[in-house]
């Protein structure tokens, strides 16, 4: 079972001079076992998440069972693509379904791709090298959680727009688990 996870660093910011919210939870549930991680304009991202939450409820009633992660990602992608000129938000959709297990989809600007892992947001540039080097397929749950926490910690250390606490949601066939890791409990690295 390859479990794919997404975490999210937290700090809501409207412009470079003002920190509006230091502890905004950027992981939004779309369904019981499907979550999305918000980045970019908080207003745009939250609105997309709410709309897709509603559309997914309707869809799951129509098909009579839990929706697939790919369906949720497609709904997000449809909105992102249709309004790509007006919106500036990137949502990463991740979850677990019976058909394909754990999955992660990136939906930037209307492109839908399934990936083993995805990073997004302003802090993501700083950790591309780290995630390329450290990710390996077939990690178990603890290793994957540690990988996500390390990645978030490194990004928060370098990016001025990220910080605060780390929210991690773990989704597998047994259920969904939410965890908050406070700033002073995050791992530290060289130079800290």
């Amino acid at each position: 079972n390859v479990k794919e996870f997404c975490g999210s660093a937290v700090r809501g910011i409207i412009n470079v001079e003002t920190v509006v919210n230091r502890v905004m939870n950027k992981l939004s549930p779309l369904h019981d076992k499907i979550y999305c991680a918000l980045s970019g304009s908080a207003a745009d991202a939250q609105t997309i998440a709410e709309i897709v939450n509603y559309q997914l409820d309707v869809h799951s009633i129509e098909v009579g069972e839990d929706p697939q992660v790919r369906s949720a990602a497609t709904l997000v992608r449809n909105i992102s693509y249709k309004y790509r000129e007006e919106l500036s938000a990137h949502l990463i959709v991740a979850g677990w379904d019976r058909r394909n297990g754990g999955q992660v989809f990136a939906t930037m600007k209307g492109l839908l791709t399934r990936q083993p892992f995805a990073v997004g947001g302003s802090g993501s540039s700083y950790v591309y090298g780290f995630v390329d080097a450290e990710y390996c397929r077939g990690m178990n749950k603890q290793e994957c959680q540690q990988f996500v926490v390390n990645t978030l910690s490194l990004a928060m250390n370098r990016d001025g727009s990220s910080g605060g606490v780390a929210y991690i949601v773990t989704i597998d066939e047994h259920g969904t688990e939410e965890k908050v890791i406070l700033g002073n409990q995050l791992p530290t690295f060289f130079d800290q």
């Binding site: 083993p116 302003s122 540039s125 700083y126 950790v127 591309y128 090298g129 780290f130 995630v131 390329d132 080097a133 450290e134 990710y135 390996c136 397929r137 390390n150 990645t151 490194l154 990004a155 250390n157 370098r158 690295f189 060289f190 130079d191 800290q192």
Partner: protein, 217 residues
């Protein structure tokens, strides 16, 4: 097909390169990629060496316009060789870094370049100095610069340890350059690495197909 400008995720001026310098136990490793690009579309050279020797055991790397780099280092080499004749001893790494910093600061209006100077001297051993864009000089143990460097900040923070051995440091530098070249389209080609120790200078060139590969390649 129209070009879309995505948000710039590079701090300050985007300079198409990746350069890095790191101190290990007994020496320094200084390295760069080898791509020279004009605008964002044309690669004018695939094998340019951006690690420039300014004295026997002092090298510098410049992120920025390569024309500026060549002009500055030519001036710096002259200053340093004159300085070492006057002092009757090889120059200190700090002296080389100061020379470059003065050139950078005096011409900061016209220049678009960030420097790093690394080397070995008898007084302080291996050192790495960074001259930031405006002319500030800092001594650090490990430093990266250039457009490709944003992608490896996390990797450097996680993987650099003080007092590594030479082999570990070379592997660290090669991995970091390979990761940056993998994500940045303005960096690429081969990895040029120079190892400077008390005993001397060693050039290592890692061609593109021998660079380490990571999970998605």
């Amino acid at each position: 097909m129209e070009k879309h400008c995505t948000d710039s995720r590079v701090k300050g001026v985007s300079t198409g390169t990746t350069i890095l310098a790191a101190v290990f136990d007994g020496g320094v490793v200084i390295g760069s990629d080898s791509r020279a690009s004009v605008g964002e579309e044309y690669v004018s050279s695939k094998t340019i060496n951006k690690v420039i020797q300014v004295h026997d055991r002092i090298f510098c790397c410049i992120a920025g316009s390569l024309a500026d780099a060549q002009a500055i280092t030519k001036a710096a080499k002259f200053h340093l060789s004159f300085h070492s004749v006057q002092m009757e001893s090889p120059p200190r790494v700090m002296a080389a870094a100061s020379v470059l910093r003065d050139l950078c600061y005096k011409n900061r209006e016209e220049l678009q370049a960030g420097f790093m100077t690394a080397g070995w001297d008898k007084k302080n051993g291996p050192q790495v100095y960074v001259v930031a864009l405006g002319g500030m000089l800092i001594n650090q143990l490990v430093t990266i610069a250039g457009s490709g460097s944003t992608y490896i900040y996390g990797y450097i923070d996680a993987k650099y340890k003080p007092n590594m051995t030479k082999e570990e440091c070379l592997q660290f530098a090669t991995n970091a350059l390979a990761l940056a070249m993998g994500r940045d389209n303005a960096s690429g080609g081969v990895a040029h690495l120079v190892v400077v120790t008390e005993k001397g200078v060693e050039h290592v060139v890692v061609p593109g197909d021998k660079l380490p590969k990571f999970h998605d390649e």
